[in-house]
Subunit: 638 residues, 2 copies
């Protein structure tokens, strides 16, 4: 169910989901409401008056009895449950004149309604189960147990190729399982790699277990690992889990992990840590859905090239040294239990192939998810994480590159940076005259820090309000208490200590801004270099696909206004969130889609940007908000 | 070089190889020469007179000076080196009349000149090497090491399918090997199973090692294991080795091994023993040819079903219990090192598939060697060993069966039975009037015992001379010192203690004869039952192919005269010796021939004889020398 909100006095109309937070809705609509405490209900600034309709609202200590009766509500504590009209109180200057704050143009793109990109997929997983009632042997018919099993399978699927078997333990277990189960067994089949390859029997279970068929999709991030448990009979996600990659104790980024891996026992140690992380996820999702880890029949994973090497304990030494060569790019289909993963010994783990040292399986999975390899349209695929990875191409060709953008958009190198979790500032507006902030946090709590989407909002707003200049320096002449010289050069106070969860002022500093500018500059220079290498410009792009952990949506206008994304037709942009995980989910559910990954890997050609002079020139030119060449950003020029 | 021998007075002509022993040559030609000591030169009975040509001869203590000068030689110490005429001294009775001893009709079929059966084969082994000089990576071309290797391989073989790799260790070793070898490496390739399957890289070695490519063919017998080292570049056999199967300490036959395997640790213990035996063979052949075991790139093996199960430590429990079901019939292509075999970790061991509990991979390999699966002609394939296995069919169909013939032809259940090795009586004649023996042993030493071919000769000769009746009982009325009542019923003395190597009389007893009659009776009943099951008779057979460890030849007339082989046109018989080993050798050398094994396995249908009433009837009727139904043996009738 959806509801309309009519904001007065600016006459802004928006449609929101039932139960949407009113403060978040206003922020997303570009409507400014005074709000200091992130939505925790304590600062009492975000009062609005309900003129029509109703909201659900907690009794707010900050409201007087009379106010409530007159329809006054704290926007941050109001949930929209019907069509409403709300009036934002006008603020007045000392001279009594109203403070003007025109609503902003926003363009939130969310990771929904992506059918045109991702398409649909079937429930036809790479692994299947078949229940068989096998006639027992007699003197007249005493072929071997394995042959008998295969014959029964062939009889059950007369049109299929003769299956093989591919699990050494099976030859030892099969005779006992068959007899214990009185010849009624369930076969677990691994489908052939190609369409002409026969199925392989990987396990045989007593009785009929066909109703228990699960797969696990795992995204192995440098910082966080996430897992999704899928019921492979229905294709539904039945549980999710996640956790920090336990390798983090050996270094925050891939470089420090690679260095650690060269110490005695380092490689095995790092492998053990990520396996431990995956085992925790398995435990978590199995507990949530009340199944046994042995009911999981396939594990589909993707991670960057360093993570993949460490997972398999392949020495990453040569990834780090020029000319940056992975040992392997197509990883073998590995027995998960052999790596220490809590799984039945027959269960295979697939790791998406990588392209180069810094364009990994997570990118291949992402590109695969959005079917670039099947489209005539030319797409620019961007994954913004600790590194930025870029892919341009269509069904006929693809080039890709990684640019060491740095982790600013994941909260790294930002004084109060954090990942998108409870208490992170995810949306922000500034009053153009008072320079006071409107802060919205994830979970509507007091702010703890700033996540990627918050950072984009903050920088875009500060720039738009003239608090910040295009070089990322604060306007020293504004003489406002929130703009001050701090420990790390100048800074803007987003939240005073009394309004913050951490008991200190939360600020954004010029050092933070330098890091952000370098990050977005590297990304933009990457797009340019890659496009030029194939003789294209931004206007040739049919689609720009943005992937990354920005939460449920990203504000396009703001991302463009700081120069993170190119200034082209907004309708061409898509945001798909965690594309790597999405690729794993699709592949795990649909074997035909899974097979199509081969085309992605085959098409992609890597380009090294690290020592490329064109890239360096573009990068230098992009160290400005939005860019030194304003002709590239016509919207900002206006 | 060959030489003609003209035996007088019986005017027998034969052609022999240069250096052939004169006593052996006489025996093979059916010419009787008095000889007690097996050819050791001590009994001095086998004196012959050279009338023309010359022989090489050791100075023999048993000859007087005058005799030697007159051309007298000991046949057992004479090697034929030119065309010769020799006179056998006539023996005279007490009354001065000559003792008559007409030459016998013999028909030695040897394991040579088998082209029509086995055909030729190419040197195109299932594993190959390729030397590659790989361009090192650069910033412009930094695909992964594995991709680089595959690309170089593809460039070297542009017409081949894209290879894969199939050795988990390779992903860890490859980067170091490539760099240590300065990018000049030799790839070991395992060819695809089918013609459309790509090659698989299983190992990479620094430098150019293409001149060292070896394969090992191993025949895993219940009693003896044999190995042949083949240079896979030339296809030549370069070394041979053999040894007793060390499992023998846990039981002489497969039944006792299966029983032992059910004890705690029994299965692993038996596996360890046969692996140890194979390792000894590897050591032996590598020492002979001065190579390292790691230069062996493929191991091709065949053994009976029990041996195959024990090799892979698959519990043989159900092989022994009705309805006699193997756990697996097609064994996985196994990493030899994983079983403890002294081989490079990447080396695969192929085990020929079995058909049923008692028709094993040795039979499949044998049938495969003689290309029954490609011939229009109907063949009867017989392997006489501890068990007798029989296969009838052609390129369109095959039925097979095992009959528990017992080990008589391998020396088991025979008082002085032994395997075909030094000192074994391998040929025998009896003087039709004096009942004195002509004994020829392997290696021309004093006799130690009787091997399979000796046993056939002895029984055939005793029967022909009337010393033995068709029920296997000695003629008690002959009143000859060699025919006497012994510990185990009646017996014939083949060698007196003074002429034997073991210092005691070597005899053949009626108990031995019972065992032999049961063995040949089971075989013959097997042929009949199997032929009847497909509506055929012996006259429908185009070929009879006899396999077994009878040494270099078998005497067809004698084998027929005791009822071991059917009495049909002699030209239809072939003797191919160790067919299992031959199959392994061919498969190891020629990949195309190797692939054809699939047809053999697919065609063969097993028939259980153990509880078959037809078989039991035929068996009872065959407990006679040669048979109760003499119409089946027209030659003997005459």
């Amino acid at each position: 169910m959806k509801h309309n909100i009519h904001f007065l006095p600016d006459d802004v109309h928006v449609t929101v989901e039932d139960g949407e937070n009113l403060l978040s809705a206003a922020a997303a609509a570009g409507v400014y409401i005074h709000a200091y405490c992130g939505g925790d209900g304590v600062c009492g600034k975000c009062k609005v008056t309900l003129e029509n309709g109703d909201v659900e609202s907690d009794s707010a200590a900050s409201l007087k009895k009379g106010e409530y009766d007159k329809g006054v509500r704290l926007a941050c504590k109001a949930r929209v449950v019907s069509d409403i009209t709300v009036r934002i109180p006008e603020m007045v200057k000392a001279d009594g004149k109203a403070l003007k704050c025109a609503p902003k143009t926003t363009r939130a793109i969310s990771a929904r309604s992506l059918d045109s990109l991702i398409g649909s997929w079937s429930v036809d997983p790479p692994v299947g189960k078949k229940f068989l009632k096998i006639p027992p042997p007699t003197l007249e018919d005493n072929i071997s147990d394995m042959q008998r099993l295969m014959r029964a399978l062939k009889n059950a699927n007369p049109d299929s190729l003769e299956p093989s078997y591919d699990h050494p333990e099976l030859i030892h277990e099969l005779p006992l399982v068959l007899r214990e189960a009185n010849w009624d067994v369930t076969v677990i089949l691994l489908h052939g790699k190609g369409q002409k390859e026969p199925d392989r029997i990987i396990a045989v279970e007593p009785g009929d277990t066909t109703d228990r068929l699960y797969g696990l999709a795992v995204d192995i991030g440098t910082t966080t690992c996430g897992g999704v448990l899928i019921d492979l009979n229905s294709g539904e996600i039945v549980a999710e889990g996640s956790g920090y990659n336990a390798q983090i104790g050996y270094g925050e980024d891939v470089i420090s992990r690679m260095i650690y891996s060269q110490r005695p026992g380092g490689l095995k140690g790092l492998q053990g840590k990520v396996i431990h992380t995956i085992n925790n996820i398995i435990e978590e999702v199995c507990k949530k859905h009340i199944i046994s880890p042995s009911d999981i029949s396939y594990i589909m994973t993707a991670g960057n090239t360093v993570m993949a090497h460490l997972m398999l304990a392949i020495n990453p030494k040569f990834l780090r040294e020029a000319p940056y060569v992975p040992s392997v790019s197509q990883f073998p289909l590995t027995k998960a239990a052999g790596l220490g993963i809590m799984a039945h010994p027959s269960v295979r783990m697939f790791l998406y192939p990588c392209i180069s040292s810094y364009v990994g399986g997570d990118i291949v999975a992402g590109v695969h998810a959005c079917q670039m390899q099947k489209s005539d349209e030319i797409s620019l695929f961007i994954d913004i994480g600790t590194n930025g990875e870029i892919v341009v191409g269509n069904k006929d060709w693809m080039v890709c590159a990684a640019c060491s953008a740095g982790p600013a958009f994941e909260g790294g190198g930002i004084k109060f940076g954090m990942r998108a979790s409870q208490g992170a500032i995810e949306n922000f507006q500034i009053h153009p005259e008072t320079y006071d902030p409107m802060i919205v946090t994830i979970g509507q709590t007091k702010p703890r820090g700033i996540c990627g989407s918050g950072l984009i909002s903050i920088v875009a707003e500060l720039l738009d309000a003239g608090v910040l200049d295009p070089q990322g320096k604060f306007n020293r002449s504004l003489n406002h208490p929130r703009i001050r010289e701090g420990e790390d050069r100048w800074e803007y106070v987003l939240a005073w200590d009394r309004d913050s969860m951490i008991g200190e002022d939360i600020v954004i500093t010029e050092v933070d801004l330098d890091n952000l500018i370098r990050a977005k500059g590297a990304m933009y220079a990457g797009y340019q270099t890659l496009l030029e290498s194939v003789g294209l410009t931004f206007s040739d792009l049919d689609r720009v696909i943005l992937a990354g952990n920005f939460g449920s949506y990203i504000d396009l206008e703001r991302a463009i206004s700081i120069g993170l994304l190119p200034d082209i037709d907004r309708d061409r942009f898509f945001y798909i969130g965690n594309a790597s995980m999405l690729g794993c989910q699709i592949s795990l559910t649909d074997h035909k889609r899974f097979r199509e990954r081969v085309a992605v890997r085959t098409l992609m050609t890597n380009m090294e940007l690290s020592e490329n002079p064109d890239f360096m020139n573009h990068y230098m030119a992009a160290l400005f908000l939005p860019h030194t060449d304003m002709s590239l950003f016509p919207s900002a020029k206006k």
